[in-house]
């Protein structure tokens, strides 16, 4: 299939000028005093080359600040590369930063019209599409309200509906789907698939590994403005995780002066990873009456205690808690983005309790994977993988398989005549 997007050694620099004269007065003062403001260039992207074929879905992954958003802005033509060139064949639609694109004082309908005309349609064509867009966005009651009254979810719904309905050949989506509720996210993903099946090209960034794995044909991994690899999703995700690990090692070396192997907690299997700026010192399980346990009955309650200690001064912590089965299938995972926001206080050491009133898992061995992260999730302080196992026991339900244990009650309403006849 033909290539619709070609990037040839694209670089982008921003000149970050310390004390850049923002006003004429500053400019005058600086030049009169002979103080040259120091100008140094920051390369946000360096030498990126790749091409995308028609009908392909390209994912771009990388850490915060790796240059994903800058790259998308260049691709969509909002900003221009410092060096290199970008060739596009076809009409580009974009869904970039959520804050921009609509005028807050105009109603949803008026904004929709503006967006349509900007996308190269005539106002009559927009009018014809209007109904469909309003329908898809599920904003019928709000469409004649000013956009400033919208919640971020509603804003996203309108922006997405507008972007997808104006029939671009290439759609560029920055990580915005995270704002919408789960149902609308599903709807968007469906729509992406239909879009792809129609032979259109999609370029998007995401932090959700699942989305990348399910949707992309090819994935580009960015690290500090350079393209590390381009390949199939599985390889790219492995590469991304490897980068995450390397970054963590580097950070660890920076913090402690040298890379040192941390002893695995006595008597536990599994792996441990992190810089140990903050550590998980112990993890204990209790039942509903507060007794320490190592196993519990299916459907019973469980309290997890996580003891932590802060080694180097860190501002805040984020926590991830996941329950995995022995085959490393994720049963459940959740996270706390900020200790300070959730608990109001961050002590030098302490315990975090997590009570689960019911754990309806089928009998088997499960692992709690716990991790402490900095709030920007850029690397790991301490991650315990398959170190804390717990046995769920109980009568195995006949004919049941899977992860979740549900209590089912069967009944029937069959009419009053047996097929065999009597």
């Amino acid at each position: 299939m033909s290539k619709v997007l070609i990037l040839e050694s694209v670089s982008k620099s921003f000149s970050v000028q310390r004390n850049r004269p923002l006003t004429i007065r500053e400019l005058l003062v600086q030049s009169l005093l002979g103080r040259e403001s120091k100008k140094h260039t920051v390369w946000a992207l360096r030498d990126i080359s790749f091409s995308v074929r028609q009908g392909e879905v390209l994912g771009i992954i990388g850490h915060n600040g790796a240059g994903k958003s800058t790259l998308l802005r260049l691709i969509s033509g909002v900003s221009y590369p410092t060096r290199g060139c970008i060739k596009r064949f076809g009409r580009i639609g974009s869904l970039l930063e959520l804050g921009t694109g609509f005028h807050p004082d105009m109603t949803g309908r008026e904004n929709l019209l503006t967006a349509g005309i900007l996308n190269g349609l005539t106002s009559r064509q927009v009018k014809m599409l209007e109904e469909e867009i309003v329908e898809f966005s599920e904003l019928r009651e709000f469409i004649d309200q000013p956009v400033r009254t919208y919640s971020s979810g509603m804003y996203l719904r309108l922006a997405f509906s507008v972007a997808i309905h104006f029939d671009p050949d290439i759609l560029v989506v920055d990580e915005v789907l995270a704002v919408g509720d789960l149902r609308f996210q599903q709807k968007c993903l469906e729509r992406f698939r239909a879009f792809k099946n129609a032979g259109k090209t999609l370029v998007f960034t995401s932090h959700s590994i699942d989305q990348v794995k399910n949707l992309c044909d090819e994935v580009v991994v960015l690290e500090e403005g350079r393209m590390v690899m381009k390949g199939d999703p599985q390889n790219a995700i492995d590469c991304y995780n490897e980068l995450m690990r390397e970054r963590t090692e580097r950070q660890k070396a920076r913090v402690f002066g040298k890379v040192e192997e941390q002893a695995v907690l006595a008597g536990k299997r599994g792996k441990r990873l992190g810089t140990h700026e903050a550590v998980i010192t112990d993890v204990c399980f209790y039942d509903t009456r507060g007794r320490a346990i190592s196993g519990l009955g299916s459907g019973e309650g469980l309290t997890v205690e996580l003891k932590y200690r802060i080694v180097k001064p860190v501002g805040d912590l984020a926590l991830i808690l996941g329950i995995y089965d022995e085959g490393n299938t994720k049963c459940f995972e959740t996270h706390i983005p900020s200790f300070r926001e959730t608990f109001g206080f961050l002590g030098k050491q302490g315990s975090i309790f997590c009570s689960i009133p019911e754990l309806p898992l089928l009998p088997g061995r499960y692992y709690l994977n716990l991790g402490l992260y900095p709030p920007d999730w850029n690397y790991v302080y301490d991650y315990h993988w398959q170190m804390h196992g717990i046995d769920v026991v109980g009568k195995r339900l006949p004919h049941a398989s899977g992860i979740v244990s549900l209590n089912l009650v069967w009944s029937a309403c069959n009419g009053n005549e047996d097929v065999a006849g009597r």
Binding site: P21, V78, S79, I92, S94, L96, T100, G101, T114, A115
Partner: protein, 282 residues
């Protein structure tokens, strides 16, 4: 791409003719879309301007009217200038002046306050300057009948065929405003105090432009300098064709047109040079 490929496929005279024709059609399509966009944005600007105000478009009439009342009171009663039909005399100049000054005063913040549009792929920021110029022109055209009625019915002055020169003056004025505004809008992205400098400059220019006085009051030596100011020449020309019903001074109007075109070229070249940076600075 498609155009080029087709054109090269059909070699021969007709091939090149069709190439030119296709190129023209493509260009016309592009142009009609730009015009469509311009028109829509002007309407949008109008809606935004009067959103939530009770009097709406009346505000735009009230402002020059209030200024007119002050000037008439001042120079007919307090310090009489002795000009015949003074209210109509001032109003003829005040309307184009209001157009010019309100365009220039809002030019500085034009790119900054329309981030939402500039951050759309393929949106040419310079179109915003056109929108600003045209939507202020519309206000001028809305009030124009009031002025004509005032001159004809109230002061009994006839409209002469020279009135038909008005579109020419409007075109020269649009070119001047567009060029200067584009320069100001672009520069203000990088140095945010340009807009304040411009508003001071516009205020000073008001007194250096024969809006509320006549050029005959100026001594001979300065009059030459006045005629190098394209705004002053334009204002006098408006007054000539609408109020006095006679031909404008062609020589000075020609100079003003050349200066306007020059401002347009300078503004556009500067804008093209800075275009890539504008998006990153906003």
């Amino acid at each position: 791409m498609a155009i080029k490929a087709d054109g090269l496929a059909g070699v021969g005279k007709t091939g090149y003719l069709s190439l030119i024709f296709r190129g023209f059609r493509y260009y016309r399509g592009f142009l009609s879309h730009q015009l469509d966009l311009l028109w829509h944005l002007v309407k949008r600007d109008f809606t935004l301007r009067y959103k939530g105000s009770v009097l709406g478009i009346l505000w735009s009439l009230l402002l020059p009217l209030a200024q007119l009342l002050v000037l008439v009171f001042l120079f007919q009663r307090v310090i009489p200038l002795g000009i015949d039909a003074y209210p109509a005399f001032v109003f003829t100049a005040l309307l184009p002046w209001t157009w010019f000054s309100s365009c220039l005063n809002s030019a500085g913040s034009l790119f900054l306050s329309n981030r939402d549009l500039i951050k759309k792929p393929g949106f040419p920021p310079c179109i915003l300057v056109g929108v600003n110029t045209l939507s202020n022109l519309l206000l001028f055209l809305v009030v124009l009948p009031v002025l004509v009625i005032m001159i004809v019915a109230f002061y009994g002055k006839p409209l002469t065929p020279y009135f038909l020169l008005l579109p020419l003056l409007l075109v020269v004025n649009v070119v001047l405003i567009w060029g200067v505004s584009l320069f100001v809008a672009t520069l203000n992205v990088f140095y945010r105090d340009i807009q304040y400098i411009v508003s001071v400059f516009v205020m000073l220019l008001f007194y250096l432009t024969p809006v509320f006085y006549s050029t005959s009051a100026i001594t001979e030596g300065y009059r030459f300098l006045y005629n190098l100011n394209p705004v002053a020449v334009l204002i006098q020309s408006y007054r000539a064709v609408i109020f006095f019903g006679r031909a404008p001074e062609w020589g000075f109007l020609f100079i003003a047109s050349v200066l306007s075109l020059l401002s347009c070229v300078v503004g556009y070249v500067f804008y093209r040079k800075k275009l890539h940076e504008i998006v990153d600075y906003i």
